[in-house]
């Protein structure tokens, strides 16, 4: 025990070394068992039959098609939800109106609804028996069991992510900056591009990345509306399932490793943003200290 005067006083609750290191230890152990090992095992399983087999299974025609379809769906979904997310965040953080709270609750519906139910909702409405679907059928337009249906349910499932990232930030930043810009005579678009956008840039980018990760990986809702037509309406997650159930485990994990890679990039990007922003904040407070001196 060190007897340096006062040392015992500076501790906050839970800072005693015994407690601190056991809590950190338990947390790290659980995280490794529950998150890290599964993550590693994806790549281990993918490479279990060798690197050659790994690339061969990725370059197979159906797999390539699934990759293409998945990217195509994400490419359509992300911009739609980007616009919606920004609009929604702007309206609920910059204005007071009756029903504002309700709107924010409605926004969370896709989080709460089971993806299978989400898929079913679209199938019932736009499928051949639905009231819109039957009309579309007469016009010879097929949305379900085709790529438009996949895009539609993906938009549904991933629509809260951008708004969810933006709203807390925009609430915290307040309206003063923008009001100042209005007083200085900025137009609506100038205001958004030159005042709002720089402030929310990072959250917006992370929202987009997260939307993309979820769009690429959506499974439940897509499997309801896709019809699983191999080489046609199979997205990569569905393809993973097909291969897995065909007892092509290594091939399934090879496809899965691509999806895991996207997830990893998403996490890396988030870590980078947080590191970047902490650095900015530290610089700012350092500068303030300099000025104070």
């Amino acid at each position: 025990m060190s007897n340096r005067p006062g040392q015992s006083h500076q501790l906050r609750v839970g800072d005693r070394p015994l407690i601190k290191y056991s809590l950190i230890g338990i947390t790290l152990l659980l995280t490794i068992l529950l998150l890290v090992v599964p993550l590693i095992s994806i790549f281990q399983q993918a490479l279990v039959e060798g690197v050659g087999h790994y690339f061969a299974s990725l370059l197979e025609g159906d797999t390539l098609h699934a990759i293409g379809l998945t990217l195509f769906v994400a490419l359509l979904t992300v911009p739609i939800n980007l616009v919606f997310g920004v609009m929604l965040a702007w309206s609920v953080t910059r204005f007071e109106f009756p029903g504002r709270k309700l709107l924010m609750t409605l926004m969370d519906i896709p989080f709460a609804v089971s993806p299978v139910v989400a898929g079913l909702l679209y199938l019932l409405l736009y499928g051949n028996n639905g009231w819109i679907g039957s009309w579309l059928y007469d016009q010879d337009i097929q949305l379900m069991f085709a790529w438009p249906g996949i895009v539609m349910v993906t938009v549904f499932v991933t629509c809260p992510f951008v708004a969810r990232e933006l709203i807390p930030l925009m609430q915290q930043q307040g309206r003063e900056d923008e009001e100042a810009a209005v007083i200085l005579g900025a137009s609506g678009w100038q205001l958004f591009r030159r005042v709002t956008l720089p402030n929310i840039k990072w959250a917006l980018i992370y929202g987009v990345i997260l939307t993309n990760a979820r769009a690429v990986g959506e499974f439940g809702a897509v499997s309801v509306v896709s019809g699983n037509i191999r080489g046609e309406t199979n997205t990569l997650p569905l393809h993973v399932q097909l291969q897995y159930e065909d007892y092509q485990a290594a091939a399934a994990f090879a496809s899965a490793s691509l999806l895991a890679l996207i997830a990893l990039i998403t996490l890396l990007f988030k870590a980078y943003i947080e590191w970047h922003q902490e650095k900015l904040m530290r610089n700012e407070s350092d500068q303030e200290k300099q000025v104070a001196k």
């Binding site: 007897n3 005067p5 006062g6 040392q7 015992s8 006083h9 500076q10």
Partner: protein, 362 residues
């Protein structure tokens, strides 16, 4: 209970928050720690409480050495700057907290706790708010609840960090008087931190003026005002006008401006500190002083009129402020832009290189 602070020092990283300092506080005394932000006053208070550990030195409550005692065992009452009321507890639960966490053997039963809480709330005149939550109280009410909570365990030492800092002027005055009454009635030893000189002078038995982690001066309020022992204390208590003087031809001079030396004044260069109300003002110079100034602003401040003046053909780092009674002001009818001459009645002379002043009277 008396408090002995012996050679306490503290640094945060490379910043020396407290240079070794010592302070004796008598039983039942009320001490104000006064200083600008960054002077170390709050650090000293937190070290006394045990919320911060000192790098060196010793603290004693009465005969008890508490230097290495954990904050929870020091039995002090502490009132935080922003009150730190527990937000999720009612007012009554806040006040009861200190009693409810006592070890079983010392803890009063529930009925006794309830009774004591009601007694405390009545004492701070807020018995009717017992079931409210902190968010439903005004600043002044929160302050009183924080005080009641701190006093619940009957500490013999009460420490207050900027106790009135967040309140508006009127409430502040009321609470100040009330706190002093409570202190005298209950007889605990109090130490409070403030950056408001008026508060320190009005409330304390003795004021400890601090700057840069040092104690500049410890004195009763009256003595502190009458005989500040350093430039810093002089600056910090009341507005001082500084005349930067060269000594030549038997006078203190600064370009065209000059001052006669009073008897016994040292015949050297230095700075003369002059308080804003210790002047005659007139539109002609006197034999004693030739200090031409231009009136740049006239402000009415309660019972007095304050003139803001800039030197004409001599130099001062700051604008001079001179306070006049209305009667004197009305007699002369000074106007903005006019040239006036001021004549000091008394001041403090700091010879160059000297830390302590010498009073001078004309």
């Amino acid at each position: 209970m008396s408090i002995l602070i012996d050679n306490i020092s503290k640094h945060f990283g490379s910043f020396q928050a407290l240079s070794p300092l010592s302070l004796d506080i008598n039983e039942g005394e009320m001490i104000g720690l006064l200083g600008p932000s960054g002077s170390g006053k709050t650090t000293l208070l937190r070290i006394i409480a045990g919320l911060e550990g000192a790098d060196s030195g010793r603290i004693q409550f009465g005969d008890r050495d508490v230097t290495n005692l954990h904050v929870r065992d020091r039995r002090v009452g502490f009132v935080f700057q922003n009150y730190a009321l527990f937000r999720h507890m009612t007012v009554a639960d806040n006040v009861a907290f200190g009693l409810e966490v006592l070890p079983k053997s010392k803890r009063p039963n529930a009925a006794a706790i309830r009774k004591r809480v009601m007694h405390l709330l009545d004492m701070v005149q807020l018995g009717h708010l017992a079931q409210r939550f902190p968010s439903q109280l005004s600043g002044g009410q929160k302050q009183r609840i924080a005080l009641a909570r701190a006093l619940a365990t009957q500490p013999e030492v009460l420490l207050l960090d900027e106790p009135f800092g967040a309140l508006d002027a009127k409430v502040r005055k009321e609470l100040r008087r009330w706190l002093r009454g409570l202190h005298d009635e209950l007889g605990f030893t109090s130490v409070f931190v403030t950056h408001d000189q008026e508060e320190a002078l009005e409330l304390s038995d003795r004021v400890v003026v601090m700057s840069n982690g040092h104690i500049e001066q410890i004195d009763q309020p009256g003595d502190l005002y009458a005989s500040p022992n350093s430039r810093f204390v002089f600056d910090f208590l009341g507005n001082a006008n500084v005349f930067d003087a060269q000594f030549s031809q038997g006078k203190w001079q600064n370009n065209v401006a000059s001052l006669q030396l009073p008897d016994e004044a040292p015949k050297t260069a230095g700075q003369i500190y002059l308080r804003s109300h210790e002047f005659h003002v007139s539109s002609v110079a006197t034999e004693q002083a030739f200090l031409p100034l231009k009136v740049v602003a006239i402000n009415l401040i309660g019972a007095e009129v304050r003139l803001e003046l800039t030197p004409i053909d001599w130099h001062s780092d700051h604008i001079w402020e001179v306070d006049l009674p209305h009667k004197a002001f009305d007699k002369h009818c000074f106007e903005k832009g006019q040239t006036v001459f001021v004549t000091p009645k008394a001041g403090y002379f700091f010879a160059n290189g000297q830390a302590t002043p010498q009073p001078v009277y004309w």
